[in-house]
């Protein structure tokens, strides 16, 4: 009942604070054209287009996929728009994959983007919601208490967040598409950067980026004939939980844990620490790396920070995390989840360039959103599922 599906084309833009050289249409077209070229396909080969992005207020355009229809070559085709908060880039790829898995389409183009320079994301995120405390200082103010709670529960030393930021920003130097290329970065430069939302420093915070990511997903028949090695999708999963609930633990959310367990089970993974070669996870603030290492079952509860301290998640470590530089180095919000999924696919296709992990055969892509209540994950591999 479920057809096999593979990633056969990947493209992304250069991410930067302001892509003033292109319109929104130009931005998505840049990523999509690169994905088509990578897949050795033309626009006419595509059966359907699935678009994702975060809140429309980030650009000030209501349902912008309508305006982007012809730029995305969707005339006369199905065009679908997903929005699941910050996890959207991941869930968009999953919705696109399902169109192939269901046998409805053979070649689906999926595109996610954000052009944050068109508006002001921090204030778009800071509007008062009835019956809820207003988040008047952006996402960092929301997540800082979760991080402090993690530090208290795990007895993690203060410098763990600094180590994560240093690693991700150093990895980004190997990624030509990354927004931040901080050649002078050091442990001390991160440590001495301004404290924004204690314990989150400026250098431990994601940037605000313009950027887009695109993938071509194809059926087994198409992928078998592809010029380049496909990344086979071995499992996909999404989970959501309430925003306001006394049952929730936002530090180690049950939704994230169940999402991971589901996707590993589909992929036949019983020991993720040993069976997964590398991971791209959604880390917008440095401390989320140790938290997600635990939530996604790579580390025992309370031990995630030891992986960071021991260098396990370094590019040359045992379990490399965020080889691309991650969200900490590029954050076109709506595309950030898809970039994680795409990097996982690039690794198993062997096309990650200087940030390639030798012999990567199984990789995990992860995205989360909202106040840690929306999760999307996939597992990709070199072998057919």
């Amino acid at each position: 009942m479920k057809e096999r599906v593979a990633v056969v084309g990947i493209g992304q833009t250069k991410h930067q604070a302001t892509r003033g050289d292109v319109s929104m249409a130009g931005l998505v077209r840049e990523a999509a054209s690169r994905a088509l070229t990578d897949a050795s396909m033309a626009w006419a080969d595509i059966d359907a287009v699935v678009v994702g992005k975060a809140p429309d207020f980030f650009e000030g355009v209501m349902m912008p996929e309508l305006y982007l229809a012809d730029a995305l070559g969707a005339t006369g085709k199905p065009l679908f728009r997903v929005h699941t908060a910050g996890s959207v880039g991941g869930s968009t790829a999953i919705v696109a994959a399902q169109l192939v898995q269901a046998g409805i389409h053979e070649r689906v183009l999926t595109v996610a983007f954000e052009k944050q320079s068109e508006s002001e994301a921090m204030w778009a995120l800071s509007m008062p919601i009835p019956f809820q405390p207003p988040l008047h200082a952006g996402a960092g103010g929301y997540f800082a208490p979760h991080i402090r709670s993690y530090m208290a529960r795990s007895n993690a030393p203060d410098h763990i967040g600094i180590l994560v930021a240093l690693k991700d920003r150093t990895n980004a130097l190997k990624n030509p598409y990354a927004h931040l290329h901080e050649h002078e970065i050091t442990f001390d430069s991160v440590k001495d950067s301004m404290m924004l939302w204690d314990p989150i420093r400026y250098a431990e915070t994601c940037p605000s980026s313009d950027g887009a990511c695109a993938m071509v997903l194809a059926s087994e028949a198409v992928a078998d004939r592809a010029d380049k090695p496909p990344a086979w999708i071995k499992g996909t999963a999404m989970r959501s939980e309430p925003t306001m609930s006394a049952d929730r633990d936002p530090v180690l959310p049950r939704g994230g844990s169940e999402c991971a367990a589901d996707v590993y089970q589909q992929a036949g993974i019983t020991d993720p620490r040993r069976e997964v070669d590398c991971v791209e996870m959604y880390v917008p603030f440095s401390w989320f790396e140790p938290m997600w290492l635990e939530n996604l079952h790579f580390a025992p509860t309370g031990e995630g920070w030891r992986f960071v301290e021991d260098g396990v998640t370094q590019l040359d470590g045992d379990l490399p995390v965020n080889m691309s530089g991650g969200v900490l180095s590029s954050n076109p919000i709506g595309a950030s989840g898809m970039l994680r999924f795409a990097e996982a696919a690039m690794q198993v296709r062997g096309q990650a360039g200087e940030h390639q992990i030798d012999g990567a055969r199984t990789a995990v892509g992860h995205a989360y959103g909202g106040g840690s209540q929306f999760f999307a994950m996939w597992v990709v591999g070199t072998e057919k599922p």
Binding site: M24, D56, R81, Q98, I104, P130, E241, G370
Partner: protein, 351 residues
Amino acid sequence: MRDVAVIAFAQMPNVRAETVLNEVEMLMPVIRDVRGRAGLDQQQIGFTCSGSTDYLSGQAFSFVSTLDGVGPWPPIQESHVEMDGAWALYEAWVKLQLGDVDTALVYCYGKSAPGPLHEVLSRQLDPYHVAPLWPDAISLAALQARAMLDAGKAREEDFCEVAARSRRNAMNNPNAQLAWSVSEYDLINEEPLVDPLRKSDCPPTTDGASAVVLAAGDRARELCRRPAWIRGIDHRIEPMALGMRDLTVSASTRLAGTKAGATGTYDVAELHAPFSHQELILREALSLGDHGNVNPSGGALAANPVMVAGLTRIGEVAQRIMDGTATRGVAHATSGPCLQQNLVTVLEGDS
């Protein structure tokens, strides 16, 4: 494809402005109603998908709050589209095709009243070239209506006939917002609002919400005496720019209809035509000719909750099949200016 059916439908009575309840409070009774009709609680539902837009509620991530009203604990498999609920139903239908889950909840909501809707909708337009001019939705629809007249494809009397019949039909729909009986001969004397459209040719501004439960195969038969089977479903889009399209036809509706197997005869058709002339365009695109039972609910001219009216069309057809008053029907949903994007689904009951 796997057999998937609508097994329950619920909607809140459409109103001009729901000024007391917020979106979460407005939606909760509809969710409770539809789950009750299906005989399922949230933990028995395999997948949940919703449709809404932040531009109506005026806040980013507005769907996050309404999800809390559904009660997603323990965590659920869930997704959201920034599209009319009809497309949320499409995603749920795709999910059910995969065979991992057998039931899905689909819901949508929209409060059009708090803002100047027809100006808000201008925020959908090309942000660099068109949106700065703030062309409102009624004026764009009027250009389309004028193109119909200029092409000799309709007369203003034809618009009035749609407007009068829709509100007359709505008198039998307890959930309709606008229902009255005035003859088309009287409507023709109404002054134009935006020439050539009269106020009667335009939809009311509506706050509303609706929801559907889908189930696959034997599970549908267990839960529903007469499931409304989705025999075909497809959606297509055209370029947004009005100058790139022949506005007197709906190529995307025709194509979606062909892909969805929308041919033959129907007992009922529900078309999402917010403006009266658009029903004529859609009738032609779906080869409905002068079919006698189009929009028995009154359609979007009787209640037009933005982000909801499309799913409600599917629900209205499905309800008639579940009731046994129809055996085969076609439902249509639209999005974007002047019928830019269209979804068509064919529903059938067991004969």
